[in-house]
C-alpha cells in the first residue's frame, strides 16, 4: 500500500498506513504528552493526555492521537487553545484520582496543572491498562487484569491471590507509568532481579543488554535464561519488545550456537578463574548484610563507569561510608583452600588507596594475616598506603555482626595480644579469593589433562606452561592464582610453546586481501564527497540531517553530498564506491559516529575504490553531538554543520600516505646464559630462528647451578644439565662463552652488535634483543656472617644439605636480610619459599631436628602456601619479628644463640642454634647500568630493568625490538623466570618471523630547510627516534635532526616542541589541524 501524507501543525508528514497520529507527531519531533502509550504495545486511549484536534471533511474533532490512524489529507493541530484546555482537564482528572503519584504530578505540571478541582481519591493506579496489556498481549501470561466495574475497577491478579501463572518477569512494573505496580503483590514466585555481571550484581539490567561500555563488539546480546520470548517457548511468540524498539531491524531470535570443527596442532587453555562465593561463609554476613561487599563489587563502586559514577555509597542507604574495613583471605588460606590467591593483598591496598583518594578523611582498615606484597614495586606501594593512613591489623576476624538500625557492621577479632576486640564499620569489603574456573573439570576431561588437588591445571615446576598432555598448554590463573604481569608473561609463553610445534606451518593460513591499484590523485584539486548519516533515529532524531547535507553542498570543493539512513550498512558502502567512481571523488567525509570504531571500515571502502585510505575524514555528529545534545535539536544541528565544515576543511588538505617497509634480520641476540637466557634461546631456536647467546662466564647456568632442590624435593640438577647440553648442541644456537657485549647499534629489526671475547671482537647482525642477565644474591653484612662459620646463606645451606654435610639438629633461619629496608625497599620474592623448602628438606633428613624460621611476613603466594602448611604440620617453628626489633645473633661460650622479640608472647626468645641460615636479598646484576645505556632502556629505582608497562607489557621495553626476562626484570621463582623467558621468545618471534616490518604511515618528518639543529625535540621523544646529525651543505656544516621511521610512533611531541616548524607528523600537519581550528571559528 502506498504511503499516507497528512499535515500536522502546518507541516506535511508521510507515514505508512496503519500508523497512528501520535507516531506521525513523533516523526516530526512534536512533543505529545502520554501516560498510557508504550511503543511495544501501541495506543490504548486510556489516559487521554495525547488529545489532538483532527480536521477531516470540514469537521473538527478531539481525538486521542495514540489510537487515531493516519489518513490521507488529514489536518491535525496539536497546540490550539482547545487542545491544551482539554488536556489540562484530563490532567486534573488524573490528578484527582492519583494526587500523590510523582509521575502523574509531573505529567500534569508539564501541562501547567498543579492542583485539581475534582474530589481527590488517593489511588495510585490510573487504570491505563499498560500492565494488563503487557502481561496478556506481550508476555502471554494474563496474570494481572482489571476486575470490578465503575468506581471499584482495579488492577490485580485473579481473586486477589498471588498468581501462580505469573513468571515474575517484571514487565508490568516496568511499563507502569505511576510506579503503582508491585510485583510482590502479584506473583507467587519471588521477584528475580536480573543483575549485571559486569557490575558484580550491583546494578539491574534488562534481558537484552550490552555487556559493558567497552565491549567488543559493542552490540546487545539476549540473555536466553531471562528473556520471556525464550522462557515462554518460541511457539507462544511472547514479548518481542526489543524487536519493535530496534529501528535497524537487527534483532534475530533464530540465532543458534554454532559448532565449529577446527584442525589444530596445539591448544592453549586460558579459562581464567572464578571468584570465591562469599555466601559460603555465613559468619561474614555477606548473604544478608547489604553493606558487606565483595572486593569486585567495591571495585565497580569505585569505577567511573560503575553504579554511582565512582562515588562510594552504601548499598543500604546511599550514604557515604566513613569507616571501611577490608577482610583478607576470604576463601583463601583456609581448610578448603590450601593456597594463597596471590592478588588480594595488593588489590585491597589499591582499593583502599583509591578510596582515600576519593575522600581523604575516609578511614580504611585492612585485616590481614601476612602482607604479601611480593611483586615488583609492591612493597613501595604498600608503604605508600601506610603513609596515606591506611591501617593494617594483623588478624583473621572471627565474624561480622550487622547492627540493627544503622546497618553498620561489627567485626569481632582477636588482636595480636590475644584480647578479643570488636570494632564497628560503615562498610566491609571481603577480599574474596580466586578459585579454579567453574568448568575446569569439564575442560580437563575434554582435553584429557590432569587437575591438581585444588582443581587447578597441573603443571611441573620446570615446565609451568605445559599441562599433563603434550601439545596442550595452560596459562593464567587456570594453573595457579596469579597477578596480571605473570598472566601476561604466561600467555606469551604459551604462544611460544605452541609455535615450537607449529613453526613449519607458520603463515600458511594467512589470506591476503586484494585491493585494486591505487589511483594517483597528486596534483588534482580536491573533489570531496560528503555522506551524512541519520543512524536511524540516533542522529536524525535530534539533528536535522537533510539540512546538514544541504549545508555541506555549499562548502568549497564539495562535489557530492547525500544523507543515508545508515552510512555503515553494506549497501551504503557499495553506493559510496559507486559515487567515488561516478563523481571522481578524491576525498571522502563521513559525518556519522566515532572514527574510533568506524574509521577502519570507511578507509577500507576507499581502498576498495582505489583511493588511498588516508584521504578519508570523519565528523563525529552522533557520539559527540546528537547523543549529548538530545534536548537541543537546533543547537545540535548548528554544531553538526560546524563539525562537517571542520572535517571538510581538513579533508581538503589530506594527502595520500604509504606505510613504509624495512627489511629485517631474522636472528636474535640473547644476553645472559642463565636458565632464563637458555630457555629463551632454546625456544627461539626450536622455532627455527638463529640465536646468538652471549654469556660472560665460561659456563652456562647462572644462579641455577647453586640450586639443589625445588619444591617437593625435586632436584633440578639433571634437568639443568640437559638444558645446558641441548643449548650447546643446538644447531641454531651460537653460544658465545666468556664473552661480553661491547656495543649495540641500530634499531628494531636491524641491530648490529659487537661481542668481545679474549681480545677478539666479532660483529653480529640481528633483528631482536632479549635481556636475560639475571640477578645476584647479596652478601650479608650482619648476623655474624663470615665471622662465624655456622652462619651461612640459604644457597650455602642448600649446598651442604645436598652434599649430606653435618649441620646439627637445631637450625634457625632469618628472613629479609637486606630486603625490605631503607636501602633496598623491595621484597626479594623467592626467599620465603626457598627457606620453607629448605626447612622441609632439613626435616626430611633430620626427623628429630628443630627448624625455626624468623620472618616478617611469610610470602608463600599461590600454591606455595601448601608448603607453608606442611612445614607447620611437620613442626617447623615460625617466629615473626618487626623491622624495628631485628633478631640478634651472638656467640656465648662457643654456642650460637639467636635472640628475637616474639610479638605474640610479647617477650624476647633466646634460641640455641647449630646453624643460622640467612636469606639475603637479590640484587641487580653488576653490569646492569652499562647494558641499560648500551640498549638505551631504563632501570627502575631498585636498579632492575624497567619494562614498557608494569601490568600489560611486562616483557617488552618501550624501545621496539628489545625484550627482557627472568630476574633482570625483578626477583622471581624458577617457574616464573621460565615463563617470562619463553614469553620473551614469543615476543621476539612476532617480529623475527616477518621479512619486512610495516611502519606507521603517520610518523614524524624533519623539514631540513626549517631545522637548525637546536635539538630541542630530541630529549622529549619517548622512543629515542630522533638523532642530531651534521652534513656538509655547500661549504658549510649543516646541523639537522634525523627521524628513525622504525622507532617513531607518531605521537607528535617533537612537532609541538619545535619552535621553527622543523618537524611535523604526517596526517596531523599543523596546517591540517589549523584548518579545523579556522573552520570551527569560521576564519576565512
Amino acid at each position: 500500500m502506498s504511503e499516507i501524507t497528512l499535515t500536522i501543525d502546518d507541516q506535511p508528514v508521510t507515514l505508512e498506513p496503519g500508523s497512528s497520529v501520535l507516531e506521525a507527531c513523533q516523526e516530526l519531533g512534536i512533543n505529545i504528552p502520554t501516560l498510557c502509550y508504550h511503543k511495544a504495545l501501541g495506543g490504548y486511549g486510556a489516559c487521554r493526555l495525547c488529545l489532538v484536534e483532527v480536521e477531516q471533511n470540514g469537521r473538527t474533532d478531539m481525538q486521542a492521537s495514540c489510537v487515531y490512524p493516519v489518513q490521507e489529507g488529514l489536518i491535525v493541530r496539536t497546540d490550539t487553545e482547545r487542545v491544551l484546555r482539554t488536556r489540562r482537564i484530563m490532567a486534573e482528572l488524573l490528578l484527582a484520582r492519583c494526587p500523590e503519584m510523582e509521575k502523574v504530578k509531573e505529567a500534569a505540571a508539564e501541562l501547567g496543572v498543579t492542583e485539581t478541582r475534582f474530589p481527590k481519591k488517593n489511588e495510585d493506579c490510573i487504570l491505563c491498562g499498560l500492565c494488563t496489556r503487557v502481561c496478556s498481549e506481550l508476555m502471554k501470561s494474563g496474570a494481572v487484569d482489571f476486575h470490578g466495574r465503575g468506581n471499584t475497577r482495579e488492577v490485580g491478579p485473579a481473586y486477589d491471590k498471588h498468581s501462580p501463572i505469573c513468571m515474575a518477569c517484571g514487565a508490568c512494573a516496568i511499563v507502569c507509568p505511576t510506579g503503582a505496580m508491585d510485583l510482590s503483590t502479584v506473583s507467587s514466585r519471588p521477584p528475580r532481579p536480573v543483575t549485571s555481571a559486569y557490575d558484580a550484581g550491583l546494578v539491574q539490567r534488562s534481558s537484552i543488554y550490552i555487556p559493558y561500555q567497552q565491549a567488543i563488539p559493542k552490540v546487545p546480546v539476549i540473555d536466553r535464561d531471562t528473556c520471556m520470548y525464550f522462557l515462554k517457548g518460541e511457539e507462544l511468540d511472547a514479548c518481542r519488545a526489543c524487536e519493535t524498539a530496534c529501528s535497524a531491524k537487527a534483532i534475530d531470535y533464530t540465532q543458534e550456537d554454532e559448532i565449529v570443527d577446527l584442525d589444530v596442532g596445539a591448544a592453549i587453555l586460558s579459562p581464567g578463574f572464578c571468584l570465591f562465593d562469599a555466601n559460603q561463609m555465613l559468619e561474614l554476613s555477606y548473604s544478608w548484610a547489604p553493606n558487606v561487599l565483595t572486593s569486585l563489587q567495591f571495585e565497580r563502586l569505585q569505577s567511573a563507569s560503575g553504579p554511582h559514577e565512582g562515588e562510594i555509597l552504601r548499598v543500604s542507604d546511599g550514604e557515604h561510608p566513613h569507616r571501611i574495613a577490608f577482610i583478607q583471605c576470604v576463601g583463601s588460606r583456609d581448610y578448603d583452600h590450601n593456597y594463597c590467591s596471590s592478588v588480594c593483598c595488593m588489590y585491597a591496598t589499591k582499593e583502599a588507596i583509591i578510596a582515600k583518594e576519593h575522600e581523604a578523611d575516609l578511614e580504611c582498615t585492612i585485616f590481614y594475616m601476612d602482607l604479601r606484597a611480593y611483586g615488583k614495586g609492591f612493597d613501595a606501594y604498600f608503604e605508600r598506603a601506610k603513609e596515606l593512613g591506611v591501617r593494617y591489623v594483623r588478624c583473621r576476624p572471627s565474624h561480622i555482626e550487622e547492627t540493627t538500625g544503622t546497618q553498620n557492621l561489627k567485626i569481632h577479632y582477636e588482636a595480636e595480644d590475644g584480647t578479643h576486640q570488636t570494632e564497628e564499620f560503615d562498610m566491609v569489603v571481603l577480599s574474596v579469593g580466586l578459585e579454579p574456573p567453574q568448568d575446569a573439570q569439564l575442560l580437563a576431561r575434554r582435553f584429557g589433562i590432569e587437575l591438581d588437588e585444588n582443581g587447578f591445571a597441573r603443571t611441573a615446576p620446570t615446565s609451568p606452561i605445559s599441562s599433563s598432555r603434550d601439545g596442550v598448554y595452560v596459562c593464567g590463573p587456570f594453573a595457579e592464582p596469579k597477578d596480571i604481569p605473570e598472566t601476561v608473561m604466561e600467555a606469551s609463553a604459551a604462544a611460544a610453546k605452541a609455535m615450537t610445534l607449529l613453526a613449519e606451518k607458520r603463515g600458511t593460513e594467512i589470506i591476503e586481501r586484494e585491493y585494486p591499484p591505487e589511483k594517483d590523485v597528486s596534483g588534482q584539486p580536491p573533489r570531496i564527497g560528503v555522506f551524512v548519516c541519520h543512524c536511524g533515529k540516533n542522529i536524525g532524531g535530534v539533528v536535522n540531517v537533510p539540512s546538514v547535507a544541504e549545508y555541506a553542498r555549499s562548502l568549497v570543493d564539495v562535489v557530492y553530498v547525500e544523507d543515508n539512513l545508515y552510512t555503515c550498512s553494506s549497501d551504503t558502502q557499495a553506493r559510496i564506491r559507486e559515487h567515488i567512481e561516478e563523481h571522481d571523488l578524491n576525498r571522502v567525509v563521513v559525518a556519522s559516529c566515532t572514527p574510533r570504531t568506524h574509521e577502519p571500515l570507511f578507509r577500507d571502502t576507499l581502498r576498495e575504490s582505489g583511493l588511498n585510505p588516508y584521504l578519508f575524514e570523519m565528523a563525529n555528529i552522533r557520539d559527540q553531538c546528537s547523543w549529548v545534545h538530545m534536548h537541543e535539536p537546533e543547537a545540535a544541528t548548528v554544531k553538526a554543520k560546524d563539525l562537517v565544515r571542520m572535517a571538510v576543511a581538513r579533508a581538503r588538505l589530506l594527502e595520500p600516505l604509504q606505510k613504509g617497509k624495512i627489511s629485517i634480520n631474522n636472528d636474535a641476540l640473547v644476553i645472559g646464559g642463565g636458565m632464563s637466557g637458555m630457555t629463551a634461546a632454546l625456544n627461539l631456536a626450536d622455532q627455527r630462528f638463529q640465536v646468538h647467546l652471549v654469556e660472560k662466564e665460561e659456563t652456562l647456568g647462572g644462579v641455577m647451578r647453586d640450586i639443589r632442590f625445588l619444591q617437593n624435593g625435586y632436584s633440578p640438577v639433571q634437568w639443568l644439565k640437559e638444558m645446558v647440553n641441548r643449548t650447546v648442541d643446538h644447531p641454531k644456537i651460537n653460544v658465545h662463552l666468556g664473552s661480553e657485549l661491547k656495543s649495540v647499534e641500530g634499531s628494531v629489526g636491524n641491530f648490529s652488535s659487537v661481542i668481545a671475547k679474549k681480545g677478539t671482537e666479532e660483529t653480529i647482525e640481528h633483528g631482536a634483543v632479549i635481556v636475560a642477565i639475571g640477578a645476584v644474591p647479596g652478601t650479608p653484612t650482619e648476623y655474624l656472617y663470615r665471622k662465624d662459620p655456622r652462619v651461612m646463606t640459604q644457597l650455602e645451606f642448600e649446598q651442604r644439605l645436598g652434599a649430606g654435610e653435618e649441620i646439627g639438629e637445631r637450625i634457625i633461619m632469618i628472613q629479609c636480610v637486606g630486603s625490605r629496608d631503607e636501602e633496598h625497599p623491595y621484597c626479594s620474592r623467592v626467599c620465603c619459599t626457598q627457606a620453607i623448602k629448605n626447612a622441609l628438606q632439613f626435616k626430611e633428613t633430620h626427623p628429630r631436628g628443630e627448624a625455626t624460621i624468623i620472618y616478617r611476613d611469610i610470602r608463600t603466594y599461590g600454591h606455595h602456601e601448601a608448603m607453608y602448611t606442611e612445614a607447620r604440620e611437620k613442626g617447623v617453628r615460625f617466629v615473626r619479628y618487626e623491622p624495628e626489633t631485628k633478631p640478634e645473633v651472638a656467640v656465648e661460650d662457643g654456642t650460637l644463640y639467636v635472640t628475637v622479640n616474639d610479638p605474640v608472647l610479647g617477650q624476647p626468645l633466646r634460641i640455641e642454634a647449630n646453624a643460622v641460615v640467612l636469606a639475603p636479598l637479590l640484587l641487580p646484576a653488576e653490569d646492569v647500568e652499562e647494558l641499560a645505556k648500551m640498549l638505551k632502556v631504563p632501570l627502575n629505582s631498585d636498579g632492575f630493568f624497567l619494562e614498557a608497562h608494569m601490568k600489560l607489557r611486562p616483557i617488552d621495553f618501550a624501545t621496539d625490538g628489545v625484550f627482557l626476562c627472568g630476574m633482570a626484570h625483578s626477583p622471581k621463582l624458577v617457574k616464573e623466570s621460565i615463563a617470562q623467558a619463553m614469553g620473551a621468545a614469543a615476543r621476539a618471534a612476532t617480529l623475527l618471523s616477518k621479512d619486512e616490518l610495516e611502519l606507521e604511515a603517520s610518523i614524524s618528518e624533519v623539514v631540513d630547510a626549517n631545522c637548525d639543529g637546536c635539538a630541542y625535540c630530541i630529549d622529549p621523544c619517548p622512543y629515542n627516534a630522533l638523532t642530531l646529525i651534521e652534513y656538509v651543505r655547500g661549504d658549510q656544516i649543516k646541523k639537522t635532526v634525523q627521524s628513525n621511521p622504525a622507532l617513531c610512533k607518531g605521537c607528535g611531541v617533537c612537532m609541538a616542541t619545535c619552535p621553527k616548524q622543523g618537524i611535523f607528523v604526517w596526517h596531523f600537519k599543523p596546517e591540517q589541524i589549523n584548518a579545523m581550528v579556522d573552520a570551527a571559528l569560521e576564519v576565512e
Partner: protein, 139 residues
C-alpha cells in the same frame, strides 16, 4: 527570543585519540548532556598540541581552548601527556602576554572510562567562559 542576546562561548577542545576522545564518545553512549558550545578536534596525543595552536585559536576568536589527555601513567605514548603538562605552564605565560585570562585555557586528564567527567569538565568550562564573557579577540 532573549536567548539570542545571551553570549554563547565558542570552546575548542583538543582530545587525544586514546583516552579523552574515547571519554567524549562514552559521554555520548551514556547520553550525558553538556552544553553544545564545544568543538572537538582529535589529535593523536595531548603532547602533539603546539602552544602556538592554542594561542592562535584564542587570538582568532575562540573564547576558550582545552587540551584533554590521558591521566599521568596512562599515556599511549608513555609520557606525551606530561610534556603537554609542561607546555601548559608556557601557555599560561603566553596568555598573560596576549592579555587573555588564564581561565580561557585548561589542560585536563580524562580517561576512556570517564564519560561523566568529560561531560562535567565541558560544562564547567562553558560556564567559566560564559562568565568571563567574549574573548577580547572575538569579532
Amino acid at each position: 527570543m532573549d536567548k539570542m542576546n545571551e553570549f554563547e562561548p565558542k570552546i575548542l577542545t583538543f582530545c587525544c585519540n586514546w583516552c579523552s576522545y574515547a571519554g567524549a564518545d562514552l559521554a555520548g553512549t551514556s547520553r550525558l548532556q553538556y552544553p553544545p558550545n564545544v568543538r572537538i578536534i582529535r589529535v593523536m596525543c595531548s603532547g602533539m598540541v603546539h602552544p602556538n595552536m592554542v594561542i592562535e585559536a584564542l587570538t582568532k576568536g575562540a573564547d576558550g581552548v582545552m587540551i584533554c589527555g590521558c591521566h599521568p601513567g596512562d599515556c599511549h605514548y608513555l609520557e606525551g601527556n606530561l610534556k603537554a603538562e609542561k607546555r601548559a605552564e608556557a601557555i599560561e605565560l603566553l596568555l598573560e602576554d596576549f592579555g587573555l585570562e588564564p581561565e580561557r585555557f585548561r589542560l585536563v586528564w580524562v580517561s576512556a572510562s570517564e564519560g561523566p567527567r568529560f561531560a562535567q569538565v565541558m560544562t564547567e568550562m562553558v560556564e567559566t567562559v560564559r562568565e568571563l564573557g567574549p574573548s577580547p579577540y572575538a569579532t
